[in-house]
């Protein structure tokens, strides 16, 4: 049985009807990770012991006739910025290298309660700051579709692991595209739900008003089920909306007949990688075939200002949220002759270069003068971007646009051309700024086997409708297969 090729729902179905055991499924996945992760370095911590216990509990529940949950026996992985009780949570930073939380993030808790089995934690850019998963203290993750390329980031480990068949489902966090861009690079499906859809409690923060938990899967039915499990109000997060969620699994099957879908125009498609422009057309065609009306749309304010606005908001907040790492209660500690020296040394040693730079930029824009001339305008522009989308979604049900302007970067680009990588967030970060649901959907591969994805966006809390659209396109495009990582020998450098 090739368990690693099954979807999450197929695994759960088999566990529930006794076709196979959760423990069996777990063993198969652990073995695959152990055998092949050396090639891509997507998993940074395996928690085999606790996983076995969780799987056995599911098997026991099945044996005793109790409901084992929606995701009975589904092995999953979580980005290393999700707090996990008893399992180290490092954010792939020296700062938290030895930190073991004593609580589970709400998202983790909900997954476990649904019978899913947490196998371990995945690699990421340090403190989620990056788009290549190269700045981890555990070393870079490689793209399972092409070892010479990066998996994207910052949830590169999670996306790569799902692509590699290490788990049918992994959790990431998305601040400006950190779930969707690596999903695009690795050829899997990634979703950033509406802000306020899933609790942020237990996610080590990057930026409070942008961060959102996002599932990564290989098909939309798994995605919808994950949304059913993860979404919901949480007394520990008052920014998580208390509205009553629809059944996303029902919604995903509802089709898009008669829906109006806009395709984004008015951006510089010349400078984009050609297959990604074609992917947009292909996706639009699939929509039309599924009965939707296709129109064109422009978002001039967003296209012009999203990246700048995103960097102001994200870095400003990051400088604030990362101030708690002072080497005094937890995290990396260095001695100092006085308090300030201790802080400074602990933070210098604990944070990597990129994180330190982003903290500096973020601190700068919140200081006198810069705050009024840069930060405040950004918060106003942010509202204008949100308004521009709100206006768009008064007329259309969804938007199709690129998720990344480029195919997976070759390794090391971040050193050569950091600004190009910043600009890569142009399409993805707007969804975070406006709090909109957004899906990175695979629509096939290039001749070289590189994945091509499009981004689907919908109105705030229109997550259900967006899943239906994604499903309709996936019906035509097919869901991406597991990367045949086993056939690739070692590192292709």
């Amino acid at each position: 049985m090739e368990f690693h090729k099954l979807s999450a729902l197929e695994i759960a179905e088999g566990v529930k009807n006794g076709k196979w055991k959760a423990s069996e499924v777990l063993s198969a996945h652990l073995e695959r990770i152990r055998k092949y992760d050396g090639r891509i370095n997507s998993v940074v911590t395996l928690s085999e012991e606790s996983a076995r216990k969780e799987a056995e509990a599911v098997d026991r529940a099945v044996a005793e006739g109790r409901d084992p949950g929606r995701f009975a026996g589904v092995p999953f992985l979580a980005k290393d910025n999700f707090c996990t009780e008893g399992i180290r949570t490092t954010c792939c930073s020296k700062m938290l290298e030895d930190w073991i939380p004593d609580y589970d993030a709400t998202a983790i808790k909900r997954m476990k309660e649904a019978g899913a089995v947490l196998m371990g934690k995945t690699n990421m850019d340090e403190f989620a700051m990056g788009s290549t998963t190269e700045s981890s203290i555990f070393g870079p993750t490689l793209n399972p579709r092409d070892f010479g390329r990066v998996p994207g980031g910052s949830s590169g480990g999670s996306a790569a692991a799902v692509a590699a068949g290490f788990a049918p489902l992994a959790l990431g966090s998305d601040t400006g595209g950190s779930v969707r861009q690596p999903s695009a690079f690795c050829g899997v499906q990634g979703m950033k739900p509406s802000y306020g859809q899933i609790s942020r409690y237990g996610i080590v923060a990057y930026a409070s008003s942008l961060d959102q938990v996002g599932p990564i899967t290989r098909n939309m039915k798994d995605m919808a089920a994950a949304m059913d499990v993860l979404a919901g109000a949480d007394p520990n997060d008052t920014t998580c909306d208390a509205y009553e969620r629809p059944s996303f699994s029902d919604a995903v099957l509802s089709g898009i007949k008669g829906k109006k879908v806009a395709v984004l125009t008015g951006f510089d498609s010349e400078s984009m990688d050609r297959p990604l422009v074609e992917a947009i057309d292909r996706a639009a065609e699939y929509c039309r075939a599924a009965g939707a009306e296709i129109v064109k749309a422009k978002l001039p304010i967003t296209m012009k200002h999203a990246v700048a606005c995103y960097y102001m908001v994200a870095l400003g907040d990051a400088s604030s949220k990362l101030a708690c790492y002072d080497g005094m209660r937890y995290g990396h500690h260095a001695d100092g002759r006085n308090l300030m020296e201790m802080y400074k040394r602990s933070r210098n040693e604990g944070f990597g270069k990129e994180v330190r730079k982003r903290i500096l930029i973020g601190t700068c824009i919140l200081t006198r003068g810069y705050y009024d001339n840069y930060y405040v305008p950004a918060t106003k522009v942010r509202q204008m971007i949100a308004d521009e989308y709100a206006e768009l979604f008064r007329n259309v049900d969804a938007l199709i646009c690129p998720i990344s302007p480029a195919l997976p970067y070759r390794k090391g680009l971040v050193e050569e051309d950091p600004v190009r990588i910043y600009l890569g967030d142009a399409f993805s970060s707007a969804a975070n700024l406006a709090g909109l649901p957004s899906i990175s959907l695979n629509v096939g591969f290039t001749e070289d086997g590189l994945p091509t994805n499009v981004q689907l966006m919908g109105p705030r809390f229109g997550d259900a409708g967006l899943l239906a659209l994604a499903q309709a396109i996936e019906n035509e495009a097919g869901s991406p297969a597991v990367a045949d990582i086993e056939k690739k020998g070692g590192c292709e450098e």
Binding site: Y103, A205, S208, T239, C324, R329, L366
Partner: protein, 484 residues
């Protein structure tokens, strides 16, 4: 002499059961260090602040008491600085959108009423506590410090006044008024000693041409007395600097209560930048009009309203009313006393004299006074009915307080016979007195008491025997008739 211009920042610790953003107990005084802590107030990664409903309610109450308007667009900001008592390295506070704005307090000072404007009231979290262990009690040179986060995250409301005060007397009256209001509304204990009311003083001098001088902030003033002294010192110091042609620096100065001086903290005002910006981990507070109205309806009678009513309904003097309404508990006691049937003026008198004296002797607050207000009322009624003399009643009250007895039992315990001794009972006593003083009786009967001294002597003995419970007129007439 330049006129001092003073504005205050008063921090009130709100009387909630839990901290402002987490469910840790707020009962931290005397608690083992670092026991009232949790992942939220220790800033463990991944945790988020959750606003305490009750703290908002108390802040709204206090805001209404200060005649502020309550903002329905209120927000928290983050104020950043690195320090060991601040785990997140930012304090969640209100900056641009405080919950209550634009109020006032009327104070009485120098025989006049003066309105002190309140700029705003905002909510914020408290910081932890640092302990600097040094053997000689001085802070200098400690090689390390210890941190206790029990107080970290406690809910505070900061009340910022306009610079409307011009003397120490006004400053003390303002603080007293704020404290009184906080206690009336049950918003805070308002105790400077325990730190549930803390004051920072901003003072500058107005130059002769009317312009305002450099503002100096004084911290570490922990009692009304030290505020008064610090103001006196600082006014003199600033005047002296200016008289000598010097310049004042905008700075924060610490009051040294032992030395009686203010000392400059190393001034970093110019270098500091708190980088305030909106706290997005918290949803906006929705203190809409209905919510505010509901709280407004639940407000108790304000101290100044009570004072007015006491003057109006109970015909008390300003002074009496002020004294009786100073504390809500005293006012309640008074009113209960009155409703037991005692005349208000008498109640006021008893409370201000006897009750005060006993409370002072027993070192008790009025709410712990063992004599129930209704019992004091009954006692006063008896005096009014002339069943007891004032002197007797005072003795009885002392017994009531000491032995925690109701009036009737206290009277018995005192040995005071209740009601007047009259008629045959009085005749009995007179006979007894006569029997004990045969010589005096004989002198009078023989007509030798020309000046009436012996008769007065006998009457006095009878009065003493009755412990004042007989009518002196009746005693006189009976003694006279029985001597015939």
């Amino acid at each position: 002499m330049r006129e001092p211009v003073v504005g205050l920042e008063i921090h009130l610790q709100l009387k909630t059961k839990t901290k402002l953003f987490c469910s840790c107990s707020s009962d931290y005084i005397g608690a083992t260090p670092n026991t009232n802590v949790c992942p939220v107030c220790l800033a463990i990664p991944g945790t988020l602040p959750i606003l305490n409903d009750h703290a908002v309610e108390l802040a709204v109450k206090m805001g209404l008491g200060l005649h502020c308007s309550i903002s329905d667009n209120t927000r928290f900001h983050r104020k950043h600085y690195f320090y060991a008592d601040l785990p997140k390295a930012y304090q969640i506070t209100q900056y641009e959108h405080p919950i209550a704005v634009g109020g006032y307090v009327d104070i009485a000072a120098g025989g006049k009423t003066k309105r002190i404007r309140v700029h705003h009231l905002h909510l914020e979290e408290d910081a932890g506590k640092l302990v600097h262990p040094t053997s000689d009690g001085r802070l200098t040179g400690a090689s390390y410090s210890l941190v206790d986060y029990n107080r970290g995250g406690m809910p505070l409301s900061e009340i910022v006044s306009e610079p409307d005060m011009n003397s120490a007397e006004e400053v003390l009256a303002y603080i007293t008024q704020i404290r009184q209001l906080a206690r009336y509304l049950d918003v805070s204990d308002g105790e400077m000693e325990s730190g549930s009311l803390r004051v920072d003083v901003n003072i500058s001098l107005r130059n002769d041409d009317g312009s305002l001088g450099t503002r100096v902030e004084i911290k570490n003033v922990n009692s009304l007395r030290s505020i008064e002294r610090a103001l006196g010192y600082e006014i003199a110091r600033q005047n002296k600097v200016l008289d000598e042609g010097g310049c004042l620096v905008r700075e924060t100065r610490l009051w040294d209560d032992v030395a009686g001086v203010t000392r400059s903290m190393r001034s970093k005002e110019g270098e500091r930048d708190y980088r305030y910006y909106v706290e997005m981990d918290l949803a906006p507070i929705s203190a809409g009009p209905e919510y505010v109205e509901e709280i407004r309806k639940s407000l108790p009678e304000m101290p100044w309203e009570k004072r007015e009513r006491f003057i109006r309904d109970h015909s008390l003097s300003e002074e009496e009313a002020a004294q009786l309404t100073e504390q809500k508990e005293t006012a309640d006691y008074f009113e209960e006393c009155v409703s037991a049937g005692a005349p208000a003026a008498k109640c006021a008198n008893w409370m201000r004299m006897e009750v005060q004296r006993l409370l002072h002797e027993m070192d008790l607050p009025i709410e712990k006074f063992p004599v129930k207000a209704s019992e004091l009322g009954k006692l006063i009624v008896r005096v009014e009915k002339r069943e007891l003399s004032n002197t007797q009643a005072k003795d009885v009250l002392a017994v009531m307080a000491e032995k925690e007895l109701p009036v009737d039992e206290a009277i018995k315990a005192c040995g005071v016979s209740c009601g007047k001794i009259t008629g045959p009972a009085l005749e009995e006593i007179i006979k007894k007195v006569f029997a004990g003083e045969p010589e005096a009786v004989e002198t009078v009967r023989a007509g030798n008491d020309k000046k009436g001294a012996k008769v007065k002597f006998l009457q006095g003995l009878v009065m003493r025997e009755t412990r004042g419970s007989a009518d002196p007129a009746e005693v006189a007439s009976l003694v006279n008739s029985m001597l015939k």
